[in-house]
Amino acid sequence: MKKMSLWLGAFSALALLLVVAEAKVLINGAGATFPEVIYTKWFQEFPKKYPDSQINYQALGSGAGIRQLTEGTVDFGASDMPMTDAQISKMKVKPLHFPTVLGGIVPTYNIPGVTQELKFTPPVLAGIFLGKIKKWSDPELKKANPDVKFPDTDILVVHRSDGSGTTFVFTDYLSKVSPEWKSAVGSNTSVRWPVGIGAEHNEGVAGLVKQSPNSIGYVELIYATQNKMGYGAVENAAGTFLRANLDSVTAAAAGAAKNMPDDFRVSITNAPGKQAYPISSFTWLLIPSKLADAEKKKALVEFLRWMLTDGQKYAADLGYAPLPKEVVAKEQKAIALIQ
């Protein structure tokens, strides 16, 4: 008996010790993996300037971000797909969309023996992901890449298995350039993929493509560059083959920047313009328009201000394009909408 009570006592003491009682403002967010690399950087750097806050961001995918925000289990969400009207109507408190950075989605591949940069036309991309183009030696691929020696192997398609904004942007693009894709699959954070294996999050797709010979997947630019994986150039609406980079992604947003709607919900895939990378997108933070907790509100507002000024400086190094000036100005005004 005595021993048992001693153990119980030790247990409870330990339990109390492990409860780290901090006076910080704790904020939890969840959402897209598309911007995960820069968000985690931001949430590490921001407390250095404002040490009273701790923002824990979990990259579960845009779908999860929207869902958890709707459930109220997180304080803010993050998504590469702007919320639909139907989704917004389900929320008790209307969410505000704040674009943070611009990014590009690249077709990344792992083909043994192929080190050159491949060119993908819209029909080829759609064909591969529809399962119509089954082998790397397909004549369609040869047409676009006459100098490349393709092996005669099966194409292993890798897509997302979780609810993903990256998927939305990619399928949104495919729907715009391929009527067959639009009717067969459509676009959403989660779709019925005709072929391929599913991986969780951008990291999962990159991981699987990296480890599997003869595979192809779609990831945000930084995941391909960080892992030194090959990625191709995509033909845009003006007929130019472009790789995703700072300039091409920024060019894609040029038109939208001038005509940005007030709620910031816009799609910039297959944007017009000679230098525009066709699979680009804004990514948004979803902040509730009314925050009950004054401390949290203060911290989030401060973060947004910091993000629009200092935060943008981190974008280029991490392969994202900073926001156009017009958008930044508009957002700074929009911050006042948070009550």
Binding site: V19, N28, T40, N56, Q58, T73, A206
Partner: protein, 282 residues
């Protein structure tokens, strides 16, 4: 010896040696697993790994300090909730059982034991996360506690039942009330087995991942309390193993090694305690 008999003898030697091969394969499997983990992980288990926070994807370095502490927190919570409930339920089954009610409870405990851990995760989500609007270590601890309760109950019952009747009757004959007899004589007599059961149960839930995926979620920082999302070793292993980053793979191996060693040590210790004596004496 006829040809047929010779053949039967050869077959006998052959099949029996095959069974030996099977047994050796099974045992070798364990050592392969352990060996592989240690080989890939031991270099990465350094001070940084044990104490630092994780770095953003792509950056080198960082560690799993928060996950180790987080796991401790969640498992401790689960133990605090699950062990007492399981223990007392086990006492009921052993000492007051015999009616249909006890039979029902026993059946339900076995049922609970067999439920896949992911389903229990869903339960914890509906009961804790949704009403409180928070992912939390509490939810994760509760999910693990739900798994711990039937394990503890059945093992407690098993060891209490194995205490000889004579001990009980002796205590009662000396004038003790029933509960005093149980508390001061029977339970201490079986304490080795009960403790073993508890250690094994805790070791079992410490490695569970599925129930934590949508209850305690994960956290990049040190956990700030039981009502906040908390990092845990198994979830980190899962996240890192499925990523493309070499550095994260390295850390996943290290975490795997740490987790496996803890679980195996607990198991070995528990079994050694048990084999030291099927406790009858005090």
């Amino acid at each position: 010896m006829t040809l047929r008999n010779r053949w039967r003898k050869i077959l006998s030697y052959l099949m029996l040696s095959l069974t030996g091969v099977c047994a050796v394969v099974a045992v070798v499997m364990l050592f392969l697993i352990l060996g592989y983990l240690v080989f890939n992980g031991w270099r990465s288990v350094d001070w940084d790994f044990l104490t630092k926070l994780p770095k953003p994807p792509g950056e080198l370095g960082g560690g799993m300090g928060n996950a180790i502490v987080g796991s401790l927190q969640i498992v401790l919570l689960a133990a605090l909730i699950g062990l007492p409930i399981g223990f007392l339920a086990g006492v009921y089954l052993a000492e007051y059982g015999g009616h249909t009610f006890a039979f029902l409870v026993r059946y339900m405990a076995d049922l609970l034991n067999g439920i896949p851990s992911i389903v229990i995760g869903i339960f914890a989500w509906t009961v804790v996360v949704v009403p409180l609007h928070h992912f939390s270590a509490l939810a994760g601890g509760l999910a693990l506690a739900v798994m711990l309760i039937p394990i503890t109950a059945r093992s407690t019952e098993q060891f209490l039942v194995s205490v000889p009747q004579t001990l009980r009757e002796g205590a009662l004959a000396l004038g003790a009330s029933q509960w005093k007899a149980i508390a001061t004589v029977v339970v201490p007599a079986a304490y080795r087995g009960i403790a073993t059961g508890m250690i094994l149960g805790v070791a079992r839930i410490a490695g569970e991942t599925a129930p934590l995926l949508f209850t305690s979620l994960n956290n990049q920082f040190w956990s700030a309390g039981f009502s906040q999302p908390t990092a845990s070793l198994p979830v980190m292993i899962f996240t890192y193993a499925t990523s493309p980053y070499q550095d994260w793979h390295r850390q996943a191996w290290a975490a795997g090694m740490v987790l496996l060693l803890l679980v195996l040590i607990a198991n070995v210790a528990a079994r050694l305690i048990l084999s030291r004596g099927i406790s009858v004496q005090r």
